[in-house]
Amino acid sequence: MKVTFPHMGNIYIPIESLVQGMGHDVVVPPMDTKRTLDLGTKYSPDTTCLPFKIIVGNLIEGIDLGADCVLMAGGTGPCRLGYYGEVHKGILEDLGKKVEFITIEPPRGNNPNFWPQLGKLFEKTNLKRFAGGCLLAWAKLNACEELELLALVVRPREREFGSTSRLLKQAFQQIKKAQSLSAVGKFREESVHAVKGLMSTSEKEKVLRVGLVGEIYTVLEPFVNLQIEERLGYLGVEVYRTISLVDWVKNHIFKQGIGLRIDQALRRSAAGYLRGFVGGHGLETVARTVDLAEKDYAGAIHILPMTCMPEIVAQAILPQISEDKHIPVLSLVVDEHTGEAGFQTRLEAFVDLLHRRERCRILG
């Protein structure tokens, strides 16, 4: 099969290796563009959320490049992501695109097609080949994330404007092409070294530190969040991304896979504000904002797609945390109409506010 899948940040790099490990060809859809968004908006129900629409765009573009199978993530609710696949399937069918549609989700007896589909996915591979693909994917995921996180520290301190992002782009391409663990390791090491070399002064230099919380897709997909990390970096802000894919895999696949609970720390942090899981990343957003305040971050930026239910619960609670814990919080809602200029202005105003606050704090 020729498999395509939706984008989310750099996740296409490890997923490509993973799917190759299953013995299939991979069609990586073109990176998100205005066209992706237009296609998605055109064929999706009006009132659904932005990730849904962009994913429709990805899938159409991937299928138009020759894919005959779609790989999607599913879920068991209450976030609507869990039912994306069923609706996507209908949309593609109505467009006359005949593809195999496979949804990967926890097997909780609500999807009778789950096991047959999984069988189809694995019929062409053997354990050794698949294990190799998994290891390579895991190495690539770790390498990409390390570089992304490092860039967040380096960007506000880079000597030459834009050099970090340029170097990163090359590094990702090298990692994508790497076909062995040792090659990934080598590129990772080289790139980390090179990125660190772009810094003008020492890592210790004090810059504003801001945490990014919110819905996972909007946090990780630069096209959707209008490259918020880069924008903040260029405003001299070090961003701390509270959502990590590496941790996500560790928690949801390794730990939950063997039946461990994963939300205790989150519940502890969110205590007094939110009593538990509300779907999606709502609990994470609340808990991480409390953590940021306690770790003395200058501020928190909350990013969410318009009409995202779990994040609206969080958004309703964040002002209270902001007030109690003295941390400025900016909630940014994105949808297909989000304009760049307005977005930039709000970020600049927020950063100005944080700078003033810091100055007042230093002067007492």
Binding site: T47, C49, G77, R80, G90, V278, G282, T307, I317
Partner: protein
């Protein structure tokens, strides 16, 4: 002790259960008034922009109770009411959302209602809550009476689809209970349809058993209770229908996807479907015009033996 219950969200589904149970436990129940402009305005003032209309209304009802001097308000955290299903994230975070909006003198009574593991767990949730106010024997019999009241109410709504007069238009009004049953936020759409001589079906008129059976046509089980009801009711009543009116709350995730499933089914089955999105800006006049136009279309379709297309395509090619 007086306890207030906001007339919004799950109240419309569970008021017999809740009021009976709370009364049996020794509370005097006070339900907030029917939604009005003032309540909605309060709600909007207390909510984040992006919240759905029903959640905003809920916060307005809480305020109405607070204004009338109620000190205790029943705001349950409903995680699930059926096995493997959820209501919605708002309902799971409801006490935490409301908590910050009431003055410190007001106490929320917020039992955790979780039936995700099945009916037994659901009953247990109420039992655990009741034990704070009475002995096990008392609570058990109170709960029994409460569930009985609920069952009686639910069953009183069920109807036999073929018992309705054939010559009238039959429309299924799809939508969350708290939209369909709230005359203010739904702009009284149910009454309007009925006074136009239409026979209106709702999902509440179909028994749980029939809904379960009919909704099993979905390839993947629906994890929203409201969505399962909508799909099940449509499937069950399909043969009797001339058209569908789908009410959705703007910003409701469940409604946005379930609405699409329903619309697609209607499109493929050539059944006219009027989709109405409700928010605080929905205007009465525009709504009436749309309803009238829709009913005209259904009438004409009946006269012309379904010769008129339901979804904009021309049936006659000459």
């Amino acid at each position: 002790m007086r306890i207030g219950i906001p007339r919004a969200l799950q109240y419309f589904q569970y008021f017999p259960l809740w009021t009976t149970f709370l009364r049996e436990l020794g509370f005097e129940t006070v339900v907030s008034p029917v939604t009005n402009k003032q309540i909605l305005n309060w709600g909007i003032a207390h909510s984040v922009d992006g919240a759905c209309l029903p959640l905003k209304t809920y916060l307005g009802h809480v305020r109405a109770l607070v204004e009338s001097g109620i000190q205790l308000i029943f705001v349950p955290q409903i995680i699930s009411v059926a096995r493997l299903e959820y209501l919605c994230p708002n309902s799971m975070g409801l006490p935490d959302i409301v908590n910050k909006q009431v003055p410190p003198s007001v106490t929320l009574v917020s039992p955790v209602i979780n039936g995700k593991k099945g009916t037994k767990a659901l009953v247990q949730s109420y039992l655990r809550f009741g034990l704070e106010f009475g002995s096990k024997r008392e609570v058990q019999s109170a709960l029994e009476r409460a569930f009985q009241a609920q069952r009686r109410y639910d069953e009183s709504l069920y109807i036999e689809p073929n018992s309705v007069p054939l010559e009238r238009l039959n429309i299924l009004l799809i939508g969350q209970r708290y939209l369909v049953d709230d005359p203010f936020i739904s702009i009284d759409i149910k009454k309007r349809l009925e006074s136009a001589g239409v026979n209106v079906f709702t999902a509440a008129q179909v028994s749980e058993k029939d809904i379960m059976k009919a909704s099993s046509i979905l390839p993947k089980r629906m994890f929203w209770t409201s969505g399962r009801n909508a799909v099940g009711a449509l499937e069950h009543l399909w043969e009797n229908l001339d058209g569908i009116v789908t009410l959705a709350a703007f910003a409701c995730g469940a409604d946005s996807l379930v609405g699409e499933l329903i619309d697609r089914k209607a499109r493929l089955g050539n059944l006219p479907n009027l989709m109405i999105n409700l928010d605080e800006h929905t205007g009465e006049v525009g709504m009436i015009t749309r309803l009238e136009a829709f009913l005209d279309l259904l009438e004409r379709r009946r006269l012309h033996e379904s010769d008129l297309s339901s979804h904009g395509k021309h049936i006659h090619t000459h």
